[in-house]
Point group: C2
Chain length 115, copies 2
């Protein structure tokens, strides 16, 4: 058993990790990767726009006044995080949200920053 000093509660924590539902380190990594996606204004803006309607890449770029390639790169991140999906309609790719938790996460975050 590891014990460094009297005031260190490492054993208490180890005990608790085994018996409770504290996220283990691998889950922590996955969680961090997930939240990292929300930690960029461009991606957040895309998500907030898609909350209300599906939009094509060109529209997103026009609305946000950014280059199409920049938007496409961020959409790739969002796809990989399984936060958006798209369907083809002719030449266009129409993106929409693919995760039901996004609105919840948004509103919880907004509650925090408005306090």
């Amino acid at each position: 058993m590891v014990k460094t000093k009297d005031y260190c509660r490492i054993n208490e924590v180890i005990e608790e990790e085994m018996t409770s539902n504290i996220p283990v380190d691998e889950e922590i990594m996955d969680l961090a990767d997930f939240f990292k996606v929300f930690g960029d204004p461009t991606r957040l803006k895309i998500l907030s726009l898609l909350e209300h309607r599906e939009l094509c890449v060109h529209d997103l770029a026009a609305i946000m006044d950014m280059q199409q390639t920049a938007i496409s790169h961020q959409l790739k991140s969002l796809r990989q995080a399984r936060l958006v999906r798209y369907r083809r309609e002719g030449k266009m790719a129409l993106y929409s949200l693919s995760d039901s938790h996004i609105k919840e996460i948004f509103s919880t975050g907004l509650e925090h920053i408005k306090e």
Copy 2:
């Protein structure tokens, strides 16, 4: 009014932004800064440890097997984001969570990655 091409829904979006509760750009920036704090495994681990008890800096460093200065730096970020607070007890600084939304955000994130 701005209008680039037929398929661009920028006017529709502008209309909606004025009448609904879409976060405006400043809120988007604040939200991104908020979620950025959750986007690092070290900070997430600290938050998850503090969910169950208050801990001093030394304990956090010992449990996480990291240097004290690294922990202190991250605690500063967490303080600035108003996610943790601390009280002095002698030489020690005992940190605890200062925001009620943290558990909610955690569990929502976990729901997503476990799907």
